[in-house]
Symmetry: C2
Subunit: 363 residues, 2 copies
């Protein structure tokens, strides 16, 4: 399937979506199974963004096919209908029915939201899915988002991210002091705490800022996305692991009233499509990352480096402090993080005799 064509087809049909159509479906009372819905999904991703943007388009397509066209969702890239960081508001207010992003973008709305995306030194993809799908995490997420009239779903996962691209070698924690790094969220706060600066740079400007030395380092995603950005041409050192994002959950959310107004079959279709999207994205990341890691290391001779132990230890200590500062001030953040931590401890005990010795045995 060509995602580009599919997206264009959707955009072409956008003319048929009226504001009245949206108003009709949100909060409508009695619904017949034959009723048609024309929804809009706004995303935080540039149009056709690899994996995330493609996945959002596929999600809409699966829902349309499963519902025989009764629920048709037009997908918009960031800025096509609303700017990336307005996605949450647009769905919360009911201007559009669906959004797609990552919950740490909404820390300004709710500090607790970010724990459903990524926690430094927290759970990896398998752990996040276990927590959300079978450990009580989803119920907490529902609670946090319900305050904004939203119903959230896990709709993807990046897997373990990379630590980022650095122009200079990081030999010890002293090298973080004065470091200007493009790293948002909790990871950025950690860098700041260690004497560096977390610089906010729009996606399209990172490359040139890194090339010109306006920033010394940047994190992005993993080998596939980082390769496409061309960072290997302007930064010599590629660090692992991505301690700040060990398995970032990508999300899609639905306006709660719009969701509740749907008949049961369409609700179940949406819910089930989200699981598929989550599994598809993680599998695609794993498959693409291994392919592009090979390109980076074999074709472009990229210098892979592990963060020194004292640096990782300092990152870990600072992460605990950064999170404590949030949870000590915000009861719902504390509730979410305490639950997350209790679940993580048991998962870690199990990983010690399952995933860890598995990996040791194959290496």
């Amino acid at each position: 399937m060509s995602k580009k064509v599919t997206r264009r087809q959707f955009l072409k049909t956008a003319g048929a979506a009226t504001a009245a159509g949206a108003a009709m479906t949100i909060g409508a009372p009695a619904i017949h199974a034959s009723q048609k819905y024309l929804w809009k999904m706004v995303t935080t991703w540039p149009p056709n963004f690899p994996v995330m943007g493609e996945g959002a388009v596929m999600l809409a397509k699966w829902i349309e096919t499963m519902s025989e066209g009764r629920l048709k969702i037009q997908v918009y890239g960031a800025g096509e209908l609303v700017p990336a960081l307005e996605v949450f508001n647009a769905v919360s207010s009911g201007t559009v029915e669906m959004g797609h992003g990552a919950s740490y973008y909404w820390a300004g709305k709710s500090q607790a939201a970010q724990f459903f995306a990524a926690v430094p030194f927290g759970l990896n993809a398998q752990g996040m899915n276990a927590w959300l799908y079978a450990g009580g995490g989803q119920q907490l997420w529902d609670e946090v988002y319900a305050a904004f009239n939203l119903k959230p779903f896990a709709a993807g996962n990046t897997g373990v991210q990379m630590g980022g691209w650095f122009r200079k070698e990081i030999k010890s924690v002293a090298d973080i002091k004065g470091l200007k790094m493009r790293i948002p969220g909790l990871g950025g706060k950690v860098i700041t705490k260690l004497g560096g600066s977390s610089i906010n740079v729009a996606g399209g400007e990172i490359y040139s800022n890194l090339e010109r030395g306006v920033i010394d380092a940047t994190e992005w995603v993993g080998p596939y996305h980082d390769y496409l950005m061309g960072f290997y041409k302007v930064a010599k050192f590629y660090y692992y692991p991505g301690w700040h994002e060990p398995g970032t959950v990508l999300e899609s959310f639905v306006n709660k009233k719009a969701y509740e107004a749907l008949p049961k079959d369409l609700q179940e279709i949406i819910t089930t499509a989200m699981y598929r999207s989550n599994a598809w994205m993680l599998a695609t990341f794993e498959s693409k990352n291994n392919e592009y890691l090979y390109k980076l290391t074999h074709e472009h001779k990229v210098n892979l480096k592990s963060f020194p132990k004292d640096v990782l230890d300092a990152f870990k200590k600072a992460s605990v402090e950064v999170i404590s500062e949030i949870t000590s001030k915000d009861p719902i953040s504390k509730k979410v993080f305490d639950h997350f931590t209790a679940f993580s401890r048991k998962v870690d005990a199990w990983a010690k005799i399952s995933e860890i010795p598995y990996y040791t045995s194959i290496m």
Copy 2:
């Protein structure tokens, strides 16, 4: 949701399922969207078997809800309609429309089938999903099963299994000699190659055989299932890791003619429900295993042991030999295994800088 009640409800409605109903749906030509299908799913699991059996019932329920009851699937435990090991034949021949099991049960039909379930020292759950969903594995699986008129889907994953319960400590590879162990499949062939015996014992008889010393050891699944079987009462040593099954794929398959006769929406509903089932089962295994590992180690003081390095090395060497014996004689097995191996190598290179340092950093 009470799975037991749901299951009973299904069994109650079974009276409405006629043989004519099944014949009508298989190979039926023109299909209207409003047409109703009453299907049967036979499984290799005892009725209400935790996770696998529960998951099969939920899979049917999701499909029924998404299709507004147009595709209703009655789920049968092993022996309720056909014996466990007749599931493949029953669906292949079109006697029933769907099956649920694990592909290594069908090694007697096709040696290549087993590589889609578990390979000793092969891929874990994340790797298997990457291979099947985004690495070309599904296409090979389709090819292998098409010869039997079946369309296969990944419908679950156990995660890393445990190495098993042993009455005596395994101090070196010499202790495998003469060992009578209940371990089927490729793992069993490895034990035999090292001088032990792979004993076939039905699920219901393992406990008493282990208690009476008829067998010296048994593998089963992981902490949750192993706890329910009570093995900790009769075997002192619990070994890890489950080298023989590092991330077993559970499958569901559909009679190919029946699948192709469905309208597109119902095909997409089935496909999507399979992804959900896969994600739900793995998450549930991870969550339950960590919970029951805690019970085993804290309440029952179970003696967790890692296989000594020389034993794992011997298992690995013997695994390579066992697999070579299969692939050297069967071209389609060779094709599948070569593809699997090439994909594994790249995934392993990526794991070395992602999952492995992630796990190291949190421990």
